[in-house]
């Protein structure tokens, strides 16, 4: 027996949307911390640190996120010896995935800062940590806004893959509703719309942030 798509179904989707948001947020924040450490390691003068960070980023970027998800899910299960909840597996997998990509984006932003800025800071003479904190990272931050936001949006949409191991986020919830309503052409456009409503404002806010920083620094606006 099927039932029609109605308010209860819609509320069910909204409830699942919450998990998409929570998963994205944890992955972005956790991945952001990991990514910052990776970016600093990748640009440091220690060859071993650079090598470890490069290897991690290489492996994570060179393997499908779906495999990472499976490995986290079954790997945790094997390690703990029990069949586990998908929740820790998806947060672990997406955090590690985000760390690699953010690390690489931010490495590029750090390396885009001219060598002379490091020299001027070193001559001041700021310590290496102070050079990063007061001179390099704030400038890299501005450069990193567009690619970081681009990645965040990809990450939010990418969390739909978590549905494959049974984690009920927005996409998985949509499949469940379609299974009982048989109305895919109502449910899936609605879900696409919900993703859009989530992602679009983020891009807008980022653009405004860029403009505000540029205006403060007296940099001319690009049309």
């Amino acid at each position: 027996m099927s039932r029609d798509f109605d308010w209860p179904e819609f509320l069910f989707l909204l409830g699942a949307l919450r998990w998409t948001v929570v998963l994205s947020l944890i992955a972005f924040v956790g991945g952001g911390i990991g990514g910052l450490l990776l970016a600093i390691a990748r640009t440091s003068s220690h060859a071993i640190l650079r090598g470890i960070a490069a290897a991690y980023i290489g492996v994570m970027q060179g393997t499908p996120v779906l495999m990472q998800l499976f490995l986290a899910y079954y790997g945790l299960a094997v390690l703990t010896g029990i069949r586990i909840d998908p929740w820790p597996a998806v947060t672990l997998a997406f955090t590690m995935y985000a760390a690699a990509f953010l690390g690489e984006i931010w490495r590029g932003a750090i390396q885009a800062i001219p060598r002379q800025q490091w020299e001027a800071a070193a001559a001041l003479p700021l310590s290496p940590a102070a050079q990063l904190r007061h001179v390099i990272l704030p400038q890299a931050f501005r450069i990193a806004i567009p690619p970081t936001v681009g990645f965040l949006v990809q990450l939010i949409k990418g969390t739909s893959i978590a549905s494959i191991i049974g984690f009920v986020e927005l996409t998985r919830a949509g499949q469940l509703i379609v299974n009982v309503t048989f109305q895919p052409m109502i449910v899936y456009p609605l879900i696409a719309g919900l993703y859009f409503v989530l992602c679009w404002p983020i891009s807008l806010v980022a653009l405004r942030l860029e403009r505000r920083i540029d205006a403060t620094l007296g940099i001319k606006q690009h049309p």
Binding site: Q116, E119, A123, L124, L126, S127, L217, G218, I219
Partner: protein, 246 residues
């Protein structure tokens, strides 16, 4: 005892010997102008003095102590040696004031209010106190270089290094920067300048150093060197810079 003593400095880039047995003493209060063709090693020499470049031989002694190879010891020494570069490298994301207070507050642990007073004082010395709250992109190249001088002065250095600081400027902006340099020289600051401003070198420097092929080729009071160069290399260099069409 000289404030700075360079002895037999050697520096190699690959097989290229860019500094070949360079020795130079800088007395406290002395103003030394280093001139020479591009590639003669003058910028490298300057950068060796505060450890931005490592040397492959010889010794650098500042105030009786050898230059530390790096780390916190080198940082400690750099507090006393200010440098202004050719490229405009104020920190573009900080206001003029913050550019100047960064060193005193973070390195010297001076309270912010005190550092801000220092900032205003050094900006007065370069005639830019009205630009306290401006950002670097709102300044002309010459103003940026004067702020860079002020930023270095805020650390109250005992030696100032200037690396062709007017070379990247439009000609009409050079004058104000040179004026600041001359004022600084008169105030008794010990200065080593790599420069192409021959007028300034002749008027203001106590000692002129002509570098050629990584060596100090000639050295002496600027008037004597300009009037009677001993080597054909300096003679042709002077001719080239004073009358490029000759």
């Amino acid at each position: 005892m000289p404030l700075l003593a360079l002895s037999n400095i050697r520096k190699r880039y690959g097989s290229n010997l860019v500094l070949d047995d360079v020795s130079l003493d800088v007395e406290a209060g002395e103003v030394i102008a280093v001139i020479g063709r591009s590639g003669s090693g003058k910028t490298t020499l300057l950068r060796c003095i505060n450890g931005l470049e490592t040397t492959d031989g010889g010794s650098i002694v500042f105030d009786g102590k050898p230059l530390p190879p790096g780390g916190a010891d080198l940082r400690e020494l750099r507090r006393h040696i200010g440098i202004v570069f050719q490229s405009l490298n104020l920190f573009p994301h900080h206001s003029v004031e913050r550019n100047i207070t960064l060193g005193p507050t973070i390195t010297n642990k001076v309270p912010l209010a005190e550092a801000q007073r220092i900032a205003l004082n050094v900006l007065r010395e370069v005639d830019l106190e009205d630009k306290l709250h401006a950002y670097p992109s709102q300044l002309s190249g010459g103003q940026q270089q004067r702020v860079a001088i002020a930023r270095a002065l805020a650390m109250q250095p005992r030696l100032m290094l200037f690396d062709e600081i007017t070379s990247a400027l439009d000609p009409e902006l050079v004058g104000d920067v040179v004026k600041v340099l001359e004022r600084l020289a008169t105030s008794g600051m010990t200065m080593v300048l790599v420069t192409h401003e021959m007028g300034f070198a002749r008027r203001t420097a106590d000692t002129l150093v002509f570098m050629h092929q990584g060596r100090i080729w000639e050295k002496g009071p600027p008037r004597e060197l300009f009037a009677a160069p001993k080597t054909p290399e300096l003679e042709s260099f002077i001719r080239a810079v004073l009358d490029p069409n000759d």
